[in-house]
Symmetry: none
Subunit: 407 residues, 2 copies
């Protein structure tokens, strides 16, 4: 049984209109913290966010589906109106986006672990002792210099962090159906790259060539003397925000991952990456009249603090956002919205499935009784509890960017 996808209707109805600012507090949703008995949003002193909520429509967003904990990609895709269950990003593509690489249609990306093997060729450490970033960067540089592949195309290799790197193959006729070479255990040699479908025989051969030559470049290295590949994926471009919703987007985000996802959807990305909350807000002030009409403003600290289990740091980040909010909350935009891409309760030290609060301020918002941007308050808001993919339609409508449906 199928439910109609509203976003295809928005595509048909999209028209030019007012500017939209979407402020995303990454992982801002949470759970009551032991001893405090409030979530970070509930505990934080946020007079400016409160005033915004009091002048807005509020509600709760369920990001991917009931009980489903989103990774970093799916939560944002949902906020941008891309159903995350039908727009899936593999690990390889996410890694490439995460290092800010400009993927092109048909590129094949995979994750790399630098690893350690013994003289018999058996893996002894799948993470090479979690080598420092600097070592990883030196190794990648060394491989890039020494390894020349014989195929009609080129390869790209970038450090992610510690033992992790990303490989991208670009060239005609490359498939992404290649099995992992990471056997997921020690005491055995790495696997040979093998195609899992006929379209990928050529690319599997290129990968085997790469691994063999990389071993040469890593000869004598300790502990990172081999590499394991996984998550091969052929990149297929998504339709852009401009194509779908007639939005000319600008991403204002410090971290590569979010900048990468934004590029994937055809947004421009503010350079240089803004620093911290203040820099992010100031960047929005600088750019608000630069011709874009959709501004995705991303704050990472809320999620990082949640992942670290640091409730106080999460509260502090929210209060820092509140402090700088007046810089941006009355800029020249038709719609100012605040949401999160998922919950990251400090008590869970990780992402969770719990719905997140959201608010939409606009001349045309039906202002409700909610006076706080928090889980316990927004559950009573006029937007109700709804799938996060609904947000984009509401943003477009409040900005006057959706025509009437039917006559």
């Amino acid at each position: 049984m199928s439910v109609p996808d509203y976003s295809s209707v928005w595509e048909q109805l999209a028209q030019p209109g007012g500017k939209i600012v979407l402020l995303v507090l990454d992982g801002a949703g949470g759970l009551p913290f032991p001893g405090v008995n409030k979530s970070a949003l509930e505990a934080a002193r946020t007079p400016n966010l409160d005033a915004l909520a009091a002048s807005a429509s509020c509600g709760m967003l369920e990001m991917v589906g009931p009980g489903i904990t989103p990774g970093s990609g799916p939560g944002h895709l949902a906020l941008f109106g891309y159903e995350p269950l039908s727009h899936q990003l593999g690990r390889g593509v996410l890694s490439a986006l995460g290092v800010g690489f400009g993927l092109q249609e048909g590129d094949v990306a995979a994750r790399i672990n630098f690893a350690t093997r013994d003289r018999a060729g058996r893996i002894t450490d799948r993470r090479a002792g979690r080598i420092p970033n600097e070592v990883n960067e030196r190794l990648c540089r060394s491989i890039r210099e020494q390894v020349k592949l014989e195929f009609e195309g080129e390869y790209f290799l970038f450090t992610e962090s510690q033992h992790r790197a990303v490989l991208i193959l670009r060239g005609p006729g490359l498939g992404g159906n290649i099995g992992d070479t990471d056997p997921q255990k020690t005491g055995v040699p790495p696997l040979q790259a093998q195609p899992t479908a006929p379209d990928s025989e050529k690319s599997a051969a290129v990968v085997r060539q790469f691994v063999e030559k990389a071993h040469g470049a890593l000869a004598g290295e300790t502990p990172a003397n081999t590499l394991l590949l996984r998550g091969f994926e052929r990149y297929k471009a998504f339709p852009t925000l401009a194509q779908r919703f007639k939005l000319n987007g600008l991403c204002i985000a410090q971290y590569p991952m979010y900048r990468g996802v934004s590029r994937l959807l055809g947004m421009d990305v503010a350079e240089p990456p803004p620093l911290k909350v203040q820099g992010t807000m100031e960047c929005l002030v600088d750019r608000i009249d630069d011709g874009h009409d959709f501004f995705f403003v991303h704050i990472k600290g809320t999620d990082s603090a949640g992942e670290d289990g640091d409730f106080d740091a999460k509260v502090a980040t929210i209060e820092e956002v509140d402090k700088y909010l007046p810089l941006v909350s009355n800029l020249n935009a038709e719609v100012f919205a605040v949401a999160a891409d998922h919950s990251t309760p400090a008590v869970m030290q990780g992402h969770s499935w719990h719905p997140v609060p959201a608010l939409i301020r606009s001349r045309f918002a039906r202002v409700d009784e909610v006076r706080r941007f928090s889980e316990d308050a927004c559950v009573h808001g006029s937007l109700g509890l709804r799938p996060a993919t609904h947000l984009m339609g509401l943003l477009l409508a409040h900005a006057g960017r959706l025509k009437k449906f039917g006559a």
Copy 2:
């Protein structure tokens, strides 16, 4: 474009985790009763349920869809995460499950009415004066003894109650596409069993043979001297809870119907059937550490009272559940949830489409302001109003049994 079924995502993400107890108060939802102006849940004094609600996430479940009144099967299938619109149980299969028969893939089941016909062969009473169960049992025994069918297989015949029985054919190559022999009116003879598709010619012939020989066994009986068959269905096994969600389920239910549905989903079924509310709760206490990780605990009295239009009995059953709740509410389980499979308002003396309250208590539940397990209270809960099929995903998530989606 269609939105994927969330339950298929839960299947992909399912992993081992904590134990889940799901207490189902059958038909507990209701409407205000005249003179009382409260529903049974609203009127009952339930200090223990209230305390549970106060420590839980609460909300409302719509069982099958807006305005759709569930039968006994669909309401439970929805609670177990089986979309009831795409997992339909025919009457024949439900009857077989209801008498506790262990259906096997490929069995063909049908409902039987004992009926009365006159000397010309015309039906005069489609229910044979609603004969007592004891008569029905004697007739079934007599048929089983006298009727030997000539086909590569066997048949089973069981009393349901009054004039109703159930026939199961088991053997190779039997189809379930057979028209009813019940003409749904009196003054005409029973219809001949006819195939409605070529795959069922053989089984239709077996049915005709059965009816002819059964007439012999019923010769001289008054008033039950013929039988009418309807709801033929070939049983196709559903994927089990273990296959879908890695749940090793135990059903603790007194009534055959619910035990049958549980078997259908691969759950073990507690023997002997527990008696009444106290026995049901005590059975859970006995079994909680027996290696199962999903406990379906079923209370029938709420529904029976509603069907009888006996508001006071419904209130009394709810208060009885509340009395015994402390036996089980703090057992060794990660998740303790309470819900209903549908509403059975006493004022309607039957099932209804109205959403039912639900609560989820767990370390990871976002506790809301709801302080009562009732329709008027739970409508304000943090789970919102949502399809009942969402419940299973939420139970799995709260028990730590779903991995993260995407990276």
